[in-house]
């Protein structure tokens, strides 16, 4: 029989883990090359994206494809706020920068939070009409809204600099920023999921009719989850913009492709699991980078191959299909990787070895 750990032990172990991860980050930051450090930061950013989409898609069961729209909102807002006034004047060659961006410059933290708030406000405005739909219709509606945001970014030249995008965004995002925001996101979303609100959200996912008959206002709870997810998507967008240092409204940068990438992360990790989302984000970031060797020229049995551009995505898709065959519900399913599950696994493992 699996025994449970006390709340106190759980707490101490969690603090120890966070401490250990921070120590590891300290080591990586000091001893690894810039390329590795950037990938580690990217894992944190992807983690925030994946966890926020997990809350919407996995926990509440809202099939939203509009995540990139909120990420883009956060990215543009915060980038416009952190860029220096002079830099903005230089960058905006088509139109002059509109108020208030032509006269403000903020530090990274407030800019990020404002980016999150803007994304949250828009997710409220988008969620209000579209959450009256469900299933595929909701997916199409949210996809449409995120495209509208992208098209607006393409055409509102006095704010977004149109198709030229924003360049020379200060590179503020480092491992500390991205992983601290990941920690905040996980703590917030995790705490929400483990409250009566989380139970209500899961109940809505399982059966809307029954959830309503349990006294849960489905629309308001879905909107709540959508807005919180939108807020953290905006935060991740800000981190992403200050990691990339250049953003533009192409579908492949901060467009629909990003939504599908985040969706791949949470499906690999397990739809409905926060720890799964982080695992998925880590795997995605590492694999897409590691597989780059496929696109370089290589020598196999003295045959020279020139690199094929895009081959890594092909291999990545094949890997994704394999995951879906062997773990149809993702690596974690809907389970969470907690100290209790690890502990009971360990006990079972040692019990078997004693026999």
């Amino acid at each position: 029989m699996p025994m449970k750990l006390s709340n106190r032990t759980n707490f101490i172990l969690t603090v120890a883990l966070v401490f250990f991860v921070w120590l590891l980050l300290f080591f990586i930051n000091g001893h690894m090359n810039t390329y590795m450090i950037r990938i580690v930061s990217l894992i944190g950013i992807y983690g925030v994206m994946a966890v926020s989409l997990t809350l919407i898609n996995g926990i509440t069961g809202i099939f939203s494809l509009g995540h990139s729209g909120f990420i883009a909102l956060g990215a543009y807002t915060s980038a416009l706020l952190t860029m220096s006034i002079h830099q903005k004047e230089v960058t905006f060659i088509l139109d002059k920068v509109a108020w208030p961006f032509n006269s403000v410059q903020l530090p990274f933290l407030p800019a990020t939070i404002i980016g999150g708030i803007v994304a949250a406000v828009f997710s409220f405005l988008i969620g209000w009409p579209s959450l009256r739909l469900s299933g595929d219709y909701l997916a199409i509606a949210t996809l449409g809204f995120s495209e509208i945001i992208r098209i607006l970014a393409l055409n509102l030249r006095s704010i977004t600099n149109g198709a030229l995008g924003l360049k020379s965004i200060p590179q503020y995002t480092n491992v500390w920023w991205s992983w601290t925001w990941l920690l905040i996101t996980v703590l917030f979303v995790g705490s929400l999921v483990n409250s009566s609100f989380g139970r209500a959200l899961k109940a809505i996912r399982e059966d809307r009719v029954a959830a309503a008959s349990m006294g849960i206002n489905i629309f308001k709870h879905q909107l709540l989850s959508f807005v919180i997810g939108g807020f953290f998507a905006g935060i991740s967008g800000s981190l992403y913009a200050h990691w990339l240092t250049t953003i533009d409204p192409r579908t492949t940068s901060i467009g629909v492709m990003l939504t599908f990438n985040v969706l791949i992360m949470i499906v690999i990790g397990g739809l409905g699991s926060i720890s799964g989302a982080i695992i998925g984000a880590g795997l995605f970031a590492i694999l897409t980078e590691w597989l780059r060797f496929l696109e370089e020229p290589m020598k196999i049995f003295s045959f020279e191959f020139s690199g094929i551009a895009g081959l890594r995505m092909l291999v990545f898709s094949a890997m994704f299909v394999m995951v879906m065959i062997f773990w149809p519900r993702g690596i974690m399913g809907r389970k969470e990787l907690t100290w209790n599950t690890l502990y009971s696994k360990l006990r079972r493992g040692s019990g078997e070895s004693n026999e």
């Binding site: 705490s191 409250s195 209500a200 399982e206 309503a212 349990m214 006294g215 709540l224």
Partner: protein, 282 residues
Amino acid sequence: MRAMNEILKLDHVTMQFGGLTAVNDFNNHVREGEILGLIGPNGAGKTTVFNVVTGVYYPTKGKVLFNGLDITSLKPHHITHVGISRTFQNIRLFQDMTVLDNVMVAQHHEIATKDAEKYLVKIGKSKYGANSTWFWRSVFKLGYLRREKEMKDKALNILEKLGLRKLAAEKASSLPYGEQRLLEIARALATDAKLLLLDEPAAGMNPSESQQLVQLIKWIRDEFKVTIFIIEHDMKVVMGLCERILVMDYGVLIAEGTPDEIQENKKVIEAYLGEEWSHVAE
């Protein structure tokens, strides 16, 4: 004897779907503390009556009154707030959640709404679904854990009473059929309902299970002080359980009375067996 005031009143309720009249001028009531049965052939409109009461449908004509309060236009979750809860004909559990969580979901509205019932009575309709301060308090765990423990204790208490305590950590989907039905009742009770609407609770049960169910429902009525309005096809269950029975056919209420009266009623026999066969029953 029990108080005889009407807890639920359906005042000339008519429900039409396009040209189809599913419920036609349904005018009756549920008395506080009684076990009322609603029977009738398939498609008679019984579940539609439940759906009108629980706010799934808005009736074409007529009003629904709960303790004198007009609840006709309330949404399903508001209906739960005023104290009506239901089970479903086809089981609708939160399959991927544990038995305990299934019951604890039912208590969410209690803490997330500002004294829903008083508010509803005052303005006739609740405007607020979620208490905003409670949201922040539950995320930052300010005074939350104590409340969580209360909810858990209450849920475990209900499970204990219905004999499901040992299954608390199991997934709802892994339960056998009869226990899933029982869990639906437990969940409905956990909303602090005063009126319980049971939609075919004995469906799919064998005779001995359904006899246990009869005893259990009577016991639930006395233990939890609830009124029970039940739709059932199993005549043994209906006759053994109900104090009063309503019979519907083609959306119309054709008979009302005690089980003995209903068994003798000519119209009821006609409805079930057809006109040409009713003489055989005599």
